[in-house]
């Protein structure tokens, strides 16, 4: 084992303390909290499984869980599919200078807070917003877009699309060009090569991109609430609702733990799939 030096510690210790104080300890506290009970709107330390049985016994919890899972999984697939042609173009068709410019443009959305971008979408999506005004000129609509799953998806796309494009571009840039030439040389046409060679070669990057999208959207609160309307809720909205309803922090902790566990399972299986040897 390497010797621990004061010099080394002085750099690593602050981060270690930070992680202990603000990650490991709260996580432990969260688990403990889920076994507390609420009496007369006050939390009392205890070791009681009642919160778990109550939450798991409710259909609304499972409906919300599946709905959140479906929305996040749907967003990951949708964003990955929408992003791919764009990433492919940036990685393979642009000159080195234009590629740098495109990557820079993908970073610009991060200059503005996600919350601000979501609020500005309301101006576009609301019943008397910009889109419906435009549709009205064409004699169509109005269409309800705000406070629907469509609105939630718009929020998710706003959150993830630039990041997924960036991650996909980096994955595609490392694809060995001679593999593409070799496929063409073996009579594999252009589109077929994308599916048979480019995507399998860039699999790690593409899966990690989709995984980031899943992680971000599964826990997102802003998009589903301000664009999706929050009814029916997602798990993160359900957490706030639960804390507001009768100081049920312990039950909110149960939801939070279920979310963390889900993300861990999804992340590990996605990474396992990405690095699996064969397609």
């Amino acid at each position: 084992m390497k010797k621990v030096t004061i010099f080394g510690l002085s750099f690593s210790l602050p981060l270690l303390l930070w992680q202990l104080l603000f990650f490991a300890f709260p996580l432990f506290f969260l688990v403990a909290l889920s076994f507390w009970v609420v009496e007369n709107y006050r939390m009392v330390p205890d070791f009681d499984g009642v919160n778990w049985t109550k939450m798991f016994g409710r259909d609304v919890f499972w409906d919300t869980y599946l709905r959140t899972l479906a929305l996040a999984a749907g967003a990951s697939v949708l964003v990955s599919i929408l992003a791919f042609p764009c990433s492919y173009g940036i990685a393979f068709k642009l000159s080195a200078n234009l590629r740098r410019l495109a990557i820079f443009l993908m970073i610009i959305p991060f200059f503005t807070s996600y919350l601000v971008r979501v609020y500005s979408w309301q101006i576009f999506l609301s019943d008397n917003g910009i889109f419906n005004a435009a549709f009205g000129l064409l004699g169509m609509g109005p269409y309800t877009m705000l406070n629907t799953d469509f609105g939630t998806m718009v929020g998710y796309l706003t959150l993830c699309l630039p990041l997924v494009v960036l991650l996909q571009v980096f994955g595609l840039m490392f694809v060995d060009r001679t593999l593409i030439e070799a496929a063409h040389n073996l009579r594999c046409g252009r589109l077929r090569t994308v599916f048979l060679v480019v995507i399998p070669s860039a699999r790690v990057g593409l899966v990690i991109a989709a995984l980031f999208c899943f992680i971000l959207t599964f826990g997102d609160f802003v998009g589903p609430l301000y664009l999706g309307g929050g009814k029916p809720p997602t798990l993160s909205i359900m957490i706030t609702d639960t804390t507001k309803a009768g100081q049920q922090w312990p039950r909110a902790a149960v939801i939070a733990i279920v979310m963390i566990a889900t993300l861990l399972v999804v992340a590990f299986s996605a990474i396992g799939y990405a690095y699996r040897k064969r397609a």
């Binding site: 060995d176 001679t178 593999l179 030439e181 070799a182 496929a183 063409h184 040389n185 073996l186 009579r187 594999c188 046409g189 252009r190 077929r192 060679v197 399998p200 070669s201 699999r203 040897k277 064969r278 397609a279």
Partner: protein
């Protein structure tokens, strides 16, 4: 003469301002093992890539079986290539790699499996059919790459320095495998390399390229013994090169005045050149005779000092520097020089027969 399979008709390839291949005319015959040799950047790989359809000629025409193929997409022609990096698909196993080309042709699963296995068997790697590419050794990967390209039974196989990453021992074995395979299949191999030993070991004909042009085309012995010009002679490094002017004929021999003295070559080598014309001749390293005493009856003699020696297997190449600074190489077997003192700085005489000299026709 055998029929042409591929014709390069005045083909030129430019990348921006640089000319990679300059007005090339080349006939590739059916069933021959053609080696294109040259140093890096000479245009040999570009030539191969144009034939495979990976680069399009800027000018001129490439014909395959008499058909113009300039604008035919690479996935519409049957010109499989073996890459220097082999370009095996790492996300497919050995069998899937080999059957890839058959799958692209729409062959059904059972038939393509059978054919791929047949080829794996032929290459002696059937037992690795279900392995990952990363689990194979360099030589095994080479065989997978060959099987993948040959399984579709093409008329021509293109190889871009496929052996350059192998160690010397394996290289020789793969050379034999490639040579035999080409003879058995009777198809055309076009092989690009910078290595003389590979070219001379396998090629029926060798094309020597430099700066986008063909310097010489010929059988290995022809190129070795009768290089066309100064570049080829120097590139091969197997001959000593002398430059001078032709003098009047002298008793059936042609004297050439050089900076090192007057040397005689056979009159037949003059090639219609006039007296006084500048000329270059070469003498094979292995045709040089070494002696400690001045040879009495030799017509072509130089004196110099040994500056070094180089062992290549059974032969030794002795480097000698003449008093006016020209370097001469003499390649001898160990027995031939056993009685000589070849220590560095020893004075030594080099001589050769007039018939050992060859006047370069292209100079």
């Amino acid at each position: 003469m055998a029929e042409s399979l591929v014709v390069f008709d005045n083909v030129e390839k430019r990348f921006g301002d640089t000319i990679a291949v300059d007005r090339m005319n080349l006939d590739i015959r059916k069933g021959e093992f053609l080696v294109i040799m040259g140093s890096s950047g000479c245009g040999k790989t570009t030539t191969l890539r144009m034939l495979a359809g990976l680069d399009a000629p800027t000018q001129g025409e490439i014909r395959l079986d008499g058909r113009r193929i300039n604008d035919l997409a690479t996935w519409r022609r049957d010109t499989p290539m073996v890459w220097q990096s082999l370009a095996l698909f790492p996300f497919l196993d050995v069998l899937q790699n080999v059957e890839f080309g058959l799958k692209m042709r729409g062959m059904d699963r059972a038939r393509r499996r059978g054919k791929a296995m047949e080829w794996l068997d032929r290459m002696g790697i059937a037992e690795f059919a279900r392995r990952d590419i990363s689990q194979l050794s360099g030589g095994q990967r080479q065989r997978v790459a060959l099987a993948r390209s040959l399984v579709t039974e093409p008329e021509i196989l293109l190889l871009d320095e496929p052996l350059s990453s192998l160690d010397a021992h394996l290289k020789v074995r793969m050379q034999a495998i490639l040579s035999n395979l080409q003879k058995e299949l009777g198809i055309t191999f076009v092989y690009v390399t910078h290595s003389q030993s590979e070219a001379f070991a396998m090629g029926d004909r060798i094309v020597i390229m430099s700066r986008g042009r063909i310097e010489q085309i010929g059988a290995p012995v022809e190129i070795y013994r009768t290089p066309h010009n100064h570049f080829v002679a120097e590139f091969l490094g197997s001959s000593n090169i002398f430059q001078g002017r032709m003098a009047p004929m002298d008793g059936g021999l042609l004297p050439i005045e050089t900076g090192q003295g007057r040397f005689y070559v056979n009159a037949s080598g003059a090639g219609g050149k006039q007296e006084g014309a500048s000329t270059t001749f070469v003498v094979g390293n292995d045709r040089m005779v070494l002696s400690e005493e001045q040879p009495a009856d030799a017509r072509n003699v130089l004196e110099g000092r040994v500056i070094g020696e180089e062992f290549v297997g059974a032969t030794v190449t002795i480097h000698i520097e003449t008093d006016d600074g020209q370097e001469i190489r003499a390649q001898k077997s160990h027995d031939e020089i056993a009685h000589l003192n070849t220590d560095v700085s020893t004075r030594i005489f080099v001589s050769w027969l007039p018939e050992s000299a060859y006047v370069l026709p292209g100079e």
